[in-house]
Subunit: 400 residues, 2 copies
């Protein structure tokens, strides 16, 4: 595919951070009375409004207010066709020059389902994603599968086998930070992580739970919109989850595990040095490391940096040149670092404000991330092209 | 002061992040039964041990365990003379080539004092710092004062006047994130921040409260030492506090306010882009901004970046080249960015492990931060020298 003027062929642009809700998922949310849920809030001034998607616990005060007072601001975000329609996704991709999207179910995935239903629902949701991908004739779509983490272990493991062997467009799984309910440092999760590694399925780690609302203080819910839970709670949640995995030795226990961290690692690239120093300077950890030396386990501790540069990839959803440079540097710097980053949009979240219901034009949120890559790595550079698509094609085997 | 060989004169090295506990403060901690406290834990194997300093709520489970079971690991950290002795501070400075230290009371400052006592204690503690500084004949010490934030407003404001007018070595104040009890975005704090700005006293913002322990999961307290609260809780707390100030419009309300953020801003340099994007894309904030346009307040919103580059300074306590580069870039990049960073050690925290009680040699934690400056800005470069001391001399008027 040559560009006008005989310049070099355009490399594929791949969006690895882009979400969809299949119809069945919306039905489930619409039947719920607790967050996450979908609900309409008719008012005298707007008798037939769009349904609203309310996902975050931080949105509970706004939800309660809206249920009591029809004149209160509606909570959550509008459930537009950007969340549900594949033609809309394709339109968005065309608008932004994206050739391939690696779709994933948006948060909170299947984490809230009753154990008895989760396995069957997971199978249907993952099949719905496979059907979206195979409906496109030009290999525009792949997907990360969702796991039924509330189901018994054997159900989860059999889901992994199923998506790996029976759904040819599956290229990994998307996971939240709760694991089986007590985090990704839970030893009970190891068989699942091992199974994912055995099937060569990377984990796309994505936040959802944020931090307890109290940390934002008494004025946040009324005055700061969604900013603090989304801008800070999300990346901090991701960082805590990965640091817990690191401290629990999960990366050593499953050396073939590959993680792709949403939002450029939350804030891990900036805090890796501090984590590393705190480990080095912790009296108790040092004593335990000393004890271990006298036992069978003599393996040298791998630094946070080493793990970042061997088992971790970062998406490029960080909205600034400063952030993107940091992510590249933390991943090894230069070409080596650039090989660990992958462009994403976070579509359909962060639509242009004031235009949520339609949003057919260019999205500022996408532009910020694409600009960050250009500015940090140089427009048209080999490194920029790797981040925009080459890495995803290689790491996720999109042409196999 | 010329160096051997006639090379250019050595620039002063200034440590702006270095703590002390005056004797009275240790007496207060020793009389307490709740965290923060100082306590000894005698055991059959160690009948006359060093007292332990227990500062963090996250240390409560370990404290309770140690009180019940004399064979359990002792909580907190050893209260060495590094926390209390000025000759020891001078020895530490000599070891690490530090010419000037800007001392500050360590966390949790005076935040826990009864309202009726806080004012008088603050006066005595700040006077103790002034005496330490004036006891040195070679201008080796300045200090950030502590404020009696639990006292009535007029007591706090009169403390500010006092430290500014009567304590000639005072160069700012150190503040935690709790303010008057509900955060630094509390409108009731504005008179205090205005008074500080009027007296040309920068605020050194330092974390203490971290995040609720639950976010670290069920295994952290037993297995990960202090790592998660210190490595992640501290910088996340700082970031949330500053983001709340930004969203509340504190920087606009007090345009002469200058903040120095501990630990290179927590993680603000990395997350500034995401905060900025979340503000841009928030439906509710956009509507409110639209409403305001029709009223008197027509001022354009200043971006997070603009605030970082005009009212914020960062210390250089980030333990990595990656982190330091990010802090410089977020502060404007190049010379402009380098002018906003100031070297610090966080002494007497993070002593060499296994050697806490003595620690007379070089500290790895200090080396990590000094190396980060050299690597990020170039050894001997003008920018590195600014970060190592020139900026502190200029911003804190250390030669006036």
């Amino acid at each position: 595919m040559a560009q006008p003027g005989g310049s070099k062929p355009k490399r594929k642009v791949v969006d690895i951070h882009t979400h969809m809700y299949p119809a069945e998922y919306i039905s489930i949310l619409s039947s719920r009375t607790e967050i996450p849920l979908v609900r309409t809030f008719p008012s005298p001034s707007s008798p037939d409004p769009d349904p609203r998607l309310i996902l975050l616990e931080a949105e509970l005060p706004a939800l309660e207010k809206a249920l009591q007072d029809p004149s209160a601001p509606v909570p959550g975000r509008p459930l537009t066709k950007h969340f549900t329609s594949l033609p809309q996704k394709l339109h968005f991709m065309t608008t932004h020059g994206i050739d391939i999207s690696v779709l994933s179910l948006a948060n909170p995935w299947l984490d809230f389902l009753p154990a008895s239903e989760a396995g069957a629902i997971a199978e249907r949701i993952n099949t719905a994603f496979e059907e979206m991908c195979s409906s496109s004739s030009n290999r525009a779509f792949f997907f990360f599968a969702a796991l039924p983490l509330t189901a018994p272990l054997e159900t989860i493991v059999s889901c992994i086998t199923h998506v790996s062997q029976c759904l040819p467009h599956c290229r990994g799984v998307i996971l939240g930070t709760s694991g089986l309910g007590s985090g990704l440092d839970d030893p009970a999760l190891l068989p699942i992580l091992r199974s994912l590694a055995d099937h060569n399925l990377p984990v796309f780690l994505h936040p959802h739970y944020g931090l307890p609302s109290a940390v934002y203080g008494p004025r946040a819910a009324e005055e700061y919109g969604h900013v603090l839970p989304l801008a800070l709670g999300f990346p901090m949640e991701t960082t805590i989850a990965v640091a817990r995995m690191y401290l629990a030795g999960v990366f050593d226990a499953v050396p073939e595990l590959r993680m792709i961290l949403a939002h450029s690692g939350g804030t891990l690239p900036f805090l890796a040095g501090r984590i590393e120093s705190c480990v080095l300077h912790d009296e108790r950890l040092a004593k335990e490391a000393e004890k271990k030396k006298t036992t069978a386990s003599r393996r040298r501790r791998r630094s946070v940096w080493e793990v970042l540069r061997s088992q971790v990839y970062l998406d490029a959803v960080v909205y600034s040149e400063v952030g993107l440079k940091t992510a590249v540097e933390a991943s090894g710097g230069g070409r080596e670092g650039a090989e660990r980053l992958m462009f994403g949009t976070d579509h359909p979240f962060f639509p242009p404000v004031g235009d949520e219901a339609d949003s057919q034009g260019e999205w500022e949120s996408v532009r910020l991330n694409a600009e960050a890559v250009k500015r940090a790595l140089g427009e048209g550079s080999e490194e920029a092209e790797l981040v925009m698509g080459g890495n995803a094609i290689r790491v996720l085997r999109l042409f196999e």
